[in-house]
Symmetry: none
Subunit: 191 residues, 4 copies
Amino acid sequence: MPRGPHTRRNLLEATITVAAREGYARATTRAIADEAGVSEATIYRHFPDKLTLFAAAVGHQNADIDQALAALPERAGQGSVLENVRTCLHQLASMKEAVLPLELAMLIDPELAQARADRLAAAHELTGAPRHLADYLAAEQAIGRVRAGLDPHRAALVLLGTLFSAVVGGGPVIDDCADVLVHGLLAPVAR
Amino acid sequence: MPRGPHTRRNLLEATITVAAREGYARATTRAIADEAGVSEATIYRHFPDKLTLFAAAVGHQNADIDQALAALPERAGQGSVLENVRTCLHQLASMKEAVLPLELAMLIDPELAQARADRLAAAHELTGAPRHLADYLAAEQAIGRVRAGLDPHRAALVLLGTLFSAVVGGGPVIDDCADVLVHGLLAPVAR
Amino acid sequence: MPRGPHTRRNLLEATITVAAREGYARATTRAIADEAGVSEATIYRHFPDKLTLFAAAVGHQNADIDQALAALPERAGQGSVLENVRTCLHQLASMKEAVLPLELAMLIDPELAQARADRLAAAHELTGAPRHLADYLAAEQAIGRVRAGLDPHRAALVLLGTLFSAVVGGGPVIDDCADVLVHGLLAPVAR
Amino acid sequence: MPRGPHTRRNLLEATITVAAREGYARATTRAIADEAGVSEATIYRHFPDKLTLFAAAVGHQNADIDQALAALPERAGQGSVLENVRTCLHQLASMKEAVLPLELAMLIDPELAQARADRLAAAHELTGAPRHLADYLAAEQAIGRVRAGLDPHRAALVLLGTLFSAVVGGGPVIDDCADVLVHGLLAPVAR
DNA sequence: CATGAATGAGTGTTCATTCAT
DNA sequence: TATGAATGAACACTCATTCAT
């Protein structure tokens, strides 16, 4: 059995498991190595340092999330927009739950946050989950189910942004988010 | 000159300053004491431990935020809802910026998150900033500028929830949030 | 009401109380001040430092013990020697219990142990409890109830020495000590 | 060369050395690590905390003491009882000298003392040094050199108990202890 | 006489990381 | 490739002590 790649995956998943179960502060190299069933030194055979390991772990999990959303644009025109958005947010929330401690923690550190911001700014084009969501909204917009004035890219980012609080707030909050995001606050007469 | 209360305020503000400038991980007791111009031991004459200091610092800053929003309900009926929400979010974002590292960090730790969740669940009634925002939305709803089906309490929490991502994403994102939240995604014809 | 002397006694007794209840390591100036109902700074109005306070506390308690043993020599010739010794040891043990943590702790510190040894060596004559016990043994020796070869001074110190272990070992151990000390190990035929 | 076990022994002996030389209060992890020529962190790779290290150090030293006393029972009937007891006490005293600060310190802490008391109470049967001494006394009793009424187990504990004070009091005190313990206080006529 | 406030020096403990094997 | 052993630097926290009031 090829141990090399296996060990790498093992470490990525152990990182997410430990961070989700015990929190970022307790996601130490020792705890991760224990969870993966390897020695601490082994971590450094696969990753130059702890930060790189964490970044790789987040990327690993997000790859799954992106894949899960790939089919979303095809649903444009089917069901209701509210239903589609709600389902999408629930799905994302459950998948994000495990990586959230890691992602938030990386957001908290100024250096890392800066690095992340630079990377996002450099990529004018969206990729991954935001891309799929923006594509879905654009498709709905094309068939007139989403209002014309909306910028699909920006709206997608707003939707995803609510996830941070939705995951923290728990299930019911997600439905509230979907409702407000889809229908807005305004009364029809006021428009 | 009474130094006691002065030192306490000094420590609370030093905590927020350091956490905002250098990040949560580097907001050590040493750094905070240096910033406040006192010794580390002094921290422990005013707070039993670091966690309590952090919680007090968040509360201290949030008290200012709550106060700033107290006048919001009176603005119902004036200007446009979009303008009011946008202004409110901008104001909140700039004030929250400093406490965000602290609040996020406390969300990350499972113990603290649990404690926070219990406390929020126990308080059925909203207080502080959420309360003021909900009151504003209810007032707008009473005069027909916000749609009737909306639950003002829940909607207020959704709006505030977007702050987490808005602060992280930076200024322009806030306008996008306000736009989507106020107008929703749907095309008028689809309603 | 004269607070000065009262506060001093108060501190001495608080010191013994705290050390006996919570152990030497937890007999901090803070704990003692709390127990006495005064501020930490007050300690330093009455004693130059913590060590002096502890020494005074031991002396304070030992004064009571010495007084309790003053009547012992008069009991020579009455009852049995075993009974008298046993009673004496029990009485001492119960009184020493409170100061033992303090006395042992001072024995443990090399500097203090040296200081104590010098002081004891300088005082050829016994004083206090050892003195009374030696007097008692000498009196019994004079009337032929204690063997002639015994040095009352040294024997008194041996008896008192067993207290350290007796207090630690608990009640029943004291009777065993008295029995062995009084009767010895040897069979009559072997003498 | 296998460094693991070597480092462990090294730490145990450094602990005893430092505690004996500088006293319990100054037997800090830093001082012990320096004495052992390792870093403080190394201590925590071999022992979970300082207390466990100290307990292990006491056990380590006591193992040597137990071994030294193993041959004592065979000496029953040889020489005189006084000589045997005196020799035994001297030997124990010199070996105990190094661990005494540690053992006394553990006696002082209420928690530790309780734990020790429970452990001793649970072990009805004696082990180690007390066991060997009791065996010796029983053997002497069998051949009529120790008085019939004596309980060897309890007497052994009394003898060992004098060590606490004998070690503190120094060499000459040990002879006094042996004399009183062996011959008792009573005059022959009084028996 | 008493104290509230402050602190320098130090504590045990943890962590990410290195390196010889 | 994997690891057992080791560690420097840092951490939150405590203590006996001082001093202006």
